[in-house]
């Protein structure tokens, strides 16, 4: 299933291509060493061109077609002075400047195929011994007022220039750039005839000054990045818009639930009150706070030294078996003796010294005495000491 955001990834529009007349270019197949990289192929192409051209490279408009793994590259070049300054100025906005015949280089052809291209200036034949790189390109000028018979004669003459063509394709109207699926390819079309060129390969077809081209490509890459960031932002904005709708829907749903919470609240509070009531009734009926019984355990059997006085004793049903005692001792050493005595009492589970402050010979202390559950029994009478 196609992504709902696929339209944001729509391929590029047809590139602006400036096709140059085929007749002004000399062409040649240049051998490339096996396993060469694209950069090595470019170097070999330029060396071969320098060796075979009567002009230095700086005075040529040249380009080449080579596919990775191919044993040769197809090179085309033209003396720069064959183009006027005005003509060259028109290429300023073009994304690709190349001879018209180069548009068919991306065609899917079988071995020994020849494509005949018609133009106002004449006929061009592009021949492949073995695809993908063409072996030869021949141009036969034909006058505009020439008859069909003259054109047929010129066509036959062109075909005789090749060793043999098992298949001949006549493309009667020039190929024009078409929209591609992505930035990674260029598409040329004439009726049903389609030629697809990878962008990296097509870049070498451009005949303009290579330094200028490098700058143009850098600017184009930058622009593409800017465009993609813009598109990413647009997609995010679209998602945010959907998110806003989701939030509106979510808030409506949340309001329904809040109404439910409010509607249930009185019933729930009543149940909670019942629970609390059950707990308190149960506490009253079964859990009895026995503070005096606990205090008696602290005094009993003369456990408490005479130097120790209790100031505050606190107990509550929240901690049913504990007693907190704040006291004062006129002899600080006696506190530890007393704590040791209490720890030995069988009904006492734990004695914690929460606070202990010495002032001279006296000491203030706070202890937390925890009794063993069920160790104390409610007394009918308690003997005071």
């Amino acid at each position: 299933m196609a992504s709902p955001f696929s339209f944001l990834r729509a391929g590029p529009p047809p590139p602006r291509v400036a096709p140059l007349p085929d007749g002004v270019f000399f062409t040649r197949a240049v051998p490339i060493t096996a396993g060469a990289t694209a950069a090595e192929a470019a170097t070999q192409v330029e060396l071969a061109l320098e060796a075979s051209s009567p002009f230095p490279l700086a005075q040529l408009y040249y380009g080449w077609f080579w596919a990775a793994g191919a044993e040769h590259a197809f090179v085309f070049a033209s003396y720069r002075r064959r183009f006027t300054t005005d003509q060259a100025a028109e290429w300023q906005d073009a994304e690709l400047v190349m001879p018209a015949f180069a548009t068919v280089f991306g065609a899917e052809v079988s071995p020994a195929t020849t494509i005949i291209l018609s133009s106002a200036e004449g006929l061009t034949a592009v021949h492949w011994d073995a695809p993908p790189v063409p072996a030869k390109v021949l141009f036969q000028p034909v006058a505009a007022e020439a008859t069909d018979e003259d054109r047929a004669k010129a066509r036959d003459e062109l075909l005789r220039g090749f060793d043999g063509s098992r298949k001949v394709i006549d493309v009667t109207s020039p190929l024009v750039a078409d929209a591609a699926q992505s930035d990674r390819e260029l598409v040329f079309r004439s009726g049903d005839f389609v030629s697809r060129l990878p962008a990296a390969v097509a870049a070498n077809l451009d005949v303009r000054d290579k330094a200028e081209l490098a700058a143009l490509r850098a600017a184009r890459s930058r622009d593409i990045i800017l465009w993609r960031v813009t598109m990413a932002c647009a997609a995010t904005l679209l998602l945010l818009l959907l998110g806003e709708f989701a939030l509106v829907g979510g808030k409506a749903w949340q309001n329904v639930r809040l109404r439910q919470v409010r509607a249930q609240k009185p019933a729930v509070e009543k149940i909670m009150a019942s629970q609390e009531m059950a707990r308190r009734i149960d506490d009253l009926a079964t859990k009895r706070l026995l503070p005096f019984e606990m205090i008696t355990q602290l005094f009993d059997e003369n456990r408490k030294p005479a130097e120790i006085k209790f100031q505050t004793v606190i107990a509550s049903t929240a901690d049913l078996h504990s007693l907190r005692v704040d006291g004062l001792s006129t002899n600080a050493d006696q506190v530890n003796v007393y704590l040791a005595t209490l720890r030995a009492v069988p009904t006492i589970a734990r004695v914690e010294n929460v606070d202990f402050r010495i002032r001279g010979n006296a000491a203030n202390f706070t202890i937390l005495v925890t009794f063993k559950p069920d160790a104390l029994k409610a007394a009918e009478t308690i003997v005071s000491q």
Binding site: G243, A273, S274, A278, R280, T312, V313, A315, S316
Partner: protein, 178 residues
Amino acid sequence: MIRTLRVYFLTRQLREKVLLLGFILFATVWWLWAYSGRANRFWRDQRSTTLTLKEQRQWLDNRLSIETAAQKAASRLDPSQTLDRLRLASAVTQAANESGLRNTTSNPLPSQTNGQFTVHSVDFQAINANYEALLQFYLKLHKRAPYIGVEKFQLNSNANDESKLTLRLVVSAVEIPR
């Protein structure tokens, strides 16, 4: 449409491209920031509501067992011996008087009810009493258990006279309608 926009964008001057991108980037970041805050709040609210509803559902599902537990707890008590607010205050005061406590105060605390049963509480204080009297008072209250219970206990000795004590109790009783 996107192709047309792309052509429009790519054919602008560089500064126009940067400006366009700047605007859209600013709008995106601003909206994203604002949205994330609101979305966070919504998420927290809905999560809290979900938890509240879940908790309420648990309470409602347990209604029968809780009410049964309350009934069961109450069934341990004889309704005729349970005390209302006045009878509780009176019982505490009577126990204090019978124990010889004179300097006392007794303040009723707010009652708690579930509609069927009511728990009454009294904040009782006896000042400058001797230990023996307080002990007698405590034992008298204990005799009324479980109809009267001590929930909080605090005993303070007088700084000037150690034999004088101040007792503060929170005493509670359940009232079950007969």
